[in-house]
Point group: C2
Chain length 262, copies 2
């Protein structure tokens, strides 16, 4: 299935494609509509996840929380079990399935957290003339587990995950200024430059997503990433969780402009 | 016990006085140090309270959360059971005790939430020449249950509680601008002017705290208040909770400037 001009689709149209089985990263899709990370956990674990998010607001800005068992959210009128392009199912912290339809794994006691995604500010970057390489390349953003630990909460601990965009040195300040105006979708970068300082050995070998070209004169810039709760699942091994496939986001009904602060 | 110049005390000195039994509203105490609301609930209810706070960030900006059973917090090196000037103990939503020492009521499964308090920005108001009437009068700030409902969470629902400061009409814009820079301690006002619109029948009969004089040419300005979780306790009747006595705050180790955004 090929999709022409995914940026022009409505969230409803995109969700229908994903519900039909299309599996594709969503960067650049549904221009102006906010994308979100998903982490769904049993109600018994919900407090730990919400507290973990509260203690780590940069990687885990919660923008919506469902009631236990709900399959839609205030910001997402689709079906959370089917309308994302990809899911990862975890048992005891181990990925046991990667699926495009999570219905068979969904449970009545699941609480779903929607967490802001940095794809939200990419439109504003492009509009300001700041290149977004993974969109140019038509791939997924590269994401990396760092050596930096999140603040633990209850039984949850794990590393900060970051996304990376190579930015021309003369535009780094613009990229910082623009993204800092979107604090609910990770805001400004957590790190500019030296990947080694973050514990990233090889930019060409991301832990999630696709590698992108870093051209001469460009600096790797790192933003906190909403895959961080899934890294905590892997590290802390709660009994059960469902996450989105990294880069394959929930496209919400909200508008990017809702998350822009003055 | 009389305290000269409470604004010059350190948090440690203030807590020692409260631990010794002094019961007094804390507006104006320990200049530059952040004050906080307390709501402590059994671990079983903690998710509902944290989600309620997340869904109602204006009245309930959580600045710290203890592990179950802890009696100090990262931001509060004193003893949460004794070092506030007053406590209210609730059983099934009914206040069953007002005490200056909550030790006899504290439980091993309690999680304590510290919630930002608008006393934090009063120093900045005074510095800018905006009068703070309850400090001038040496009393407690007036607080009101409004007719505005908070977003519920799990078993918790209740009205928005607000604090009120009368502001000269020509300084209202300054008061808005200054307080909006402290979003973690309620930020800008939720309402300026007409109390009836908020469902407040009589400014001279606050639900908590002391009435203050509104002078000719002054406008009542209302800020979201961290007593809101206690109003939810009263309305929703969870089995057990301990709150601070309204206006009788936890004086933390944090500095007001920590909560100032650029």
């Amino acid at each position: 299935m090929e999709v022409n001009d995914p940026g022009s689709l409505t969230p409803e149209q995109a969700r229908a494609l994903f519900r039909a089985g299309l599996r594709v990263p969503t960067a650049g899709w549904c221009a102006g509509r906010t994308q979100a990370n998903l982490i769904a956990v049993p109600r018994d674990h919900a407090y730990d996840f919400l507290l973990f998010a509260h203690r780590n607001p940069k990687p885990c800005p919660v923008i919506d929380v469902t009631e236990p068992g709900e399959t839609t959210a205030a910001l997402f009128s689709g079906d959370l079990r089917t309308d994302l392009p990809g899911y990862v199912v975890y048992e005891d912290g181990v990925p046991v399935a990667e699926v495009t339809d999570a219905t068979a794994y969904w449970r009545d006691d699941l609480v779903a957290f929607l967490i802001g995604c940095s794809f939200t500010f990419e439109g504003a970057l492009i509009e300001a003339g700041v290149p977004v390489r993974h969109i140019e390349q038509g791939g997924n953003v590269p994401m990396y587990r760092t050596g930096r630990a999140c603040r633990p909460a209850g039984g949850l601990a794990g590393p900060l995950v970051v996304s990376m965009r190579p930015i021309p040195a003369g535009l780094v300040a613009d990229a910082v200024r623009i993204t800092a105006r979107y604090p609910a979708v990770h805001g400004g970068p957590v790190h500019v430059g030296d990947p080694a300082e973050l514990g990233i050995a090889d930019l060409d070998a991301p832990d999630f997503g696709d590698p992108v070209e870093v051209r001469p004169g460009e600096v790797p810039v790192f933003w906190a990433c909403g895959v961080t709760p899934q890294a905590a699942v892997t590290a802390s091994r709660p009994a059960f969780a469902i996450g989105h496939a990294p880069g394959h986001m929930a496209i919400t009904d909200a508008r990017d402009s809702d998350y822009l602060v003055p």
